[in-house]
């Protein structure tokens, strides 16, 4: 499936601000199941500096500096992305046993294994909480297969946690998500990661988008009009398999991958510091439109 993607972030400040420095993870990744055919990042007012480099996870990271005083900032990423079906549903039953995975992680030090071992520990935004471990332990009784365990967790979060965009703005501490049993896609992804890591399963955070308009006859997926997030679990022979707990599905042809890291903080779509005081208003608009439908 080919998509036209646009992600616009707009800040309006109550007072003039100057020297705004920003980092953006807004460029979709090139992957075996995803090709970026076009990409364009436009910043208004015109940036004093726009640089890019590859971060430690292989994501493209932009550095944006706006020096002159301004009262409004908009950053728009536009791209054309081709996404293929991954057919991961069929592979799940071939997933490794927990014990196999544990053995692999303890003995292998290939670069793939290192990437997995990096995502085994607590990170800044994902502490390993006993409550999270308590959530996944009952599942562990029934599922010895790592991917089936992840799928069961995916389902559990979907069923027991309420999707509530009013509850949190962008991101909520996992303890609060657990306490109130509600949150948004970023929260669910981080919660799942916390659960999996606490039982020794490497898990990472994926930032991306969902197709905005559903194919005919199918319901519109939740979280489609903004940035989306999900998680991936590592299997020694299958690699990373993506799960979307907000929709209780495996990430597939409707999921567009931007960037991944240990948690949200590693791949915030746009963050920054600036000189000035006062409040700001934020407006984000995301459009993911299949190309053949725009004609």
């Amino acid at each position: 499936m080919k998509y036209q993607l646009s992600h616009c972030t707009e800040y309006r400040y109550t007072h003039m601000v100057a020297n705004s420095y920003n980092l953006a993870w807004l460029t979709p990744r090139n992957l075996p199941y995803q090709q970026v055919e076009q990409f364009d990042l436009s910043v208004s007012p015109a940036p004093s500096e726009l640089q890019q480099h590859i971060d430690s996870f292989g994501n493209i990271q932009h550095f944006i500096h706006l020096q002159p005083p301004h009262q409004q900032l908009s950053v728009t990423a536009r791209s054309v992305v081709q996404v293929q079906a991954r057919h991961n549903v069929l592979k799940i039953r071939d997933g490794a046993d927990i014990s196999e995975l544990t053995h692999y992680l303890a003995t292998d030090s290939s670069s793939a294994a290192l990437a997995a071992r990096l995502c085994l520990n607590a990170s800044r935004m994902i502490p390993l909480q006993p409550e999270a471990k308590a959530l996944i332990l009952p599942l562990l009784q029934a599922e010895k297969n790592v991917l089936q365990l992840a799928q069961a967790l995916n389902q559990l979060i979907f069923k027991e946690f309420q999707y509530d965009p009013e509850f949190s703005t962008v991101i909520t501490p996992i303890s609060e998500v657990l306490q109130h049993k509600r949150g948004v896609c970023q929260d669910f992804a981080q919660l799942a990661i916390s659960c999996l890591r606490s039982v020794g399963v490497p898990a990472r955070y994926i930032s991306g988008y969902l197709q905005t308009r559903p194919p005919e006859g199918q319901p519109r997926l939740v979280g489609a009009d903004a940035s989306h997030a999900w998680f991936a679990v590592f299997d020694p022979s299958l690699g990373w398999i993506d799960f979307d707990p907000t929709n209780n599905v495996l990430a597939d042809e409707q999921h567009l991958t931007l960037a991944w890291g240990r948690d949200y903080a590693d791949v915030v779509p746009l963050k920054g510091v600036l000189q000035g005081s006062g409040e700001h208003q934020l407006r984000v608009a995301v459009d993911v439109i299949p190309c053949n439908r725009t004609k």
Partner: protein, 830 residues
Amino acid sequence: MSVSVTPHNLAEQQHWQQLKPWQHLQHWWQQQSPARLQQLQDELQHQLRENGTAFSPGQQPQRQLDLMPWLISEPQWLQLESGLSQRHQLLNAILHDLYGPQQLLQHAIIPPEVIFLNKDYLLPCVNLTGKQPWLPMLATDIGRNSAGNFCAWGDNSRLPAGLGYVLEHRLAFNNTTGELNAGIKKSQLAGFFRRLQQLLQQGYHGDNRQKTAGILTHHKRDAAYFEHAFLANYLDIALVHGADLMFKDGQLWLKTLSGLQPLQSLLRYLPDSSCDSLELDAAGSGSAGLLQSIRQQQLLCVNPPGTALLDSGALLPFLAPCCEFLLQQPLLLPTVAALWCGDKQDLAQLQANQQQYCLQHLLSGKQWLLPQLNVAERAALWQQLLLQPAAYIARQLLPLSTLPVNSLADSSPADAQLPQQTGVLRLFSLLENQAETGIEVHVMPGALGRVSANGNALQLTDSAGFNQAFKAKDVWVLADKAHAVSLLQSAKQQVTLSRHSGLLPSRVADHLFWLGRYNERLNLICRALRAALTLLSSSEPATQQDAACLLHFCLQANGSGDSAAPAKITAAQVTLESLFNTANPHGVAAVLQNLLFNAQSVREYFSEDTWYVLDKLQTAVYQWPALSAQPQMATLQRTLDEVVLLQTAIYGLNNETMSRTQTLRFMDLGQHLERALQTCSLLQAVFTHRPPGDALLEALLRLADTLLTYRRRYQAELYAPAIIDLLLLDDSTPRSVGYQCASLLRQTEKLPALQAGVGLKPGREQRLAMELVALLHQLDPQQLFDSQQHAKPDLSLLLHQLQQLLRQLSDSITQSYFNHADLSSQWQSF
């Protein structure tokens, strides 16, 4: 008095006994009387710049320099030098690998958990330096192991890590112990400092035209800060805070009075994670864009953020195999035995020998000296460790060698042996990637020696510097062919990055301006208080009432905002107490504190004599008369006299020693502005409430140092309009408001021009100063008084108007020169 070393074996004993310098040292020492040794020890201590400067009364002194140097023989040195060169190269290569291809992890030479669980492994720093060295400079802690060999036990990548102390110690010895010095040929340190200076001046591009180097320091006024100021002065580089920096056009710039100056290198002291508020810790006090400027190879950071991974000690258990793997060489300098608790065998070994280890937690950076814990504490710690053993490293505590220390009491018998204490060395090395020769390491032939009665406590790693008091030794590397270059000569020969006025950071100008203001405020309060105390001692009730006027002025001079009518005599005692109360934020002590804060913040701009006077002022604060008991008038008077004298000395010294004209200008502006403002307020207190008595008028003239001038002009008669003329209008009286306004006009004309095309000519500051001068020019003092010589409301109005204009001028200077943008300089993340 005799001196001996405790050698590790007979051979070493013989080696030392045959060494001429050691014989000289022993001989010299035996010849000195205990009193002479004590005198030399005191002189040495006095040479330390921050001596006497404490930051709270309980804190001093930070550091004591021992009169007995630590000698290192040539064979010992050659061994250390080659070992350190290799080790520095190795650590540089390890950083390149761990922040790059991670071959060490893939080949299982270092377990990944050691790195991934380490709070000091910073992912944003991956591939940060490209092909440039990761570790341009390193400070290595070294002790002797049980076999008597030198053994590295700690690394410090956060600089200067005591480098400034080494320099200071050597200079102190050079100035103090002539004969001792002359008889012992030793390697000089100047070459190393020159190399460091060149490294910083050249940056990445070797082009040092109009570019700047700096030490990135923190805001705390602690011992480390003084080291930085000292080193910045010696190397002739700027001392900068995060707030002085700004990223633009791919590089960092230093904000100065005349605009932005490109910055090419930084000696970094700020903790790794607080260096860049954008990419690292958002609450950090560094500068957004610092990482980006390193990435774009526009900033040579010594050392780049991410190197604290070494300081964590996490790599110590793996250095020998890393050396074989990366350099294909055996490790030359032994490393302290270290264990990784994630390894079962290592864990068992630690459990069996807990008493011998220092334990470190990689996630938090905490460390514990296990022999100092009791059984229960150790058990609790062990439980905690078992939850995640992979996050712990244990380092064996070295037995260390002992050295003689000069600390005998006067009463000791003449043939007493000097006591022995254990010691550790901190050595410094530079690593450069030369185009022709590849990587070169230069080790400074000298070191920071630290000794203590408790050898274990010495072996705690301390990346923050030395905020614990310690006993230091200057380390002399013996050399037959000692180089003739002396450190002092070399200081004159250095290629200078001239710190012309344009390089004055705005923050510094801000501190100097306020230093001028607080110094003057303090001066006037103290003068008025002295005058008031004299009036209070009079038996005349009316005169006592006059004193209340002056007390009222003092009370509101530091912004208490209390503009009620002057206090009654009965309240005089209360007012005095309030003014002298150290807890009163508007009291005299508070003004003094503010003055010292601003002075300390820019201490590197003052001559050593000025530092000395500031130290004395500081001492005066700590010896402030206690008010619990009935304050003795005489004690108060003495304190005030001393403070006035000392701060007058500050002005005198600065006028003589501060060559940087813009520097002095901002302090001058502050002084004149404050004097004008306070004099208006003083005149208001004296004239506008009730007609002043003769005693008060005389006190006023005396406190303004104008009594003699007045008598020359008007003989004995005290005539209010004449006094107003002298203190308000006359622009030839150095304490009159008119004189201050004329000076302000002169100084504002010379303020540096801001960006071309911005602002009209004359600038706003100059226009305000002109307005002030004009206002005073058109006045006739007679018009301000009625026929009874009582002040008309016009006088009060005029004084009020003058104060308004002066405040506007102060605000305008602040806005134009210190804030740099017309925007608040507050940072926020979003």
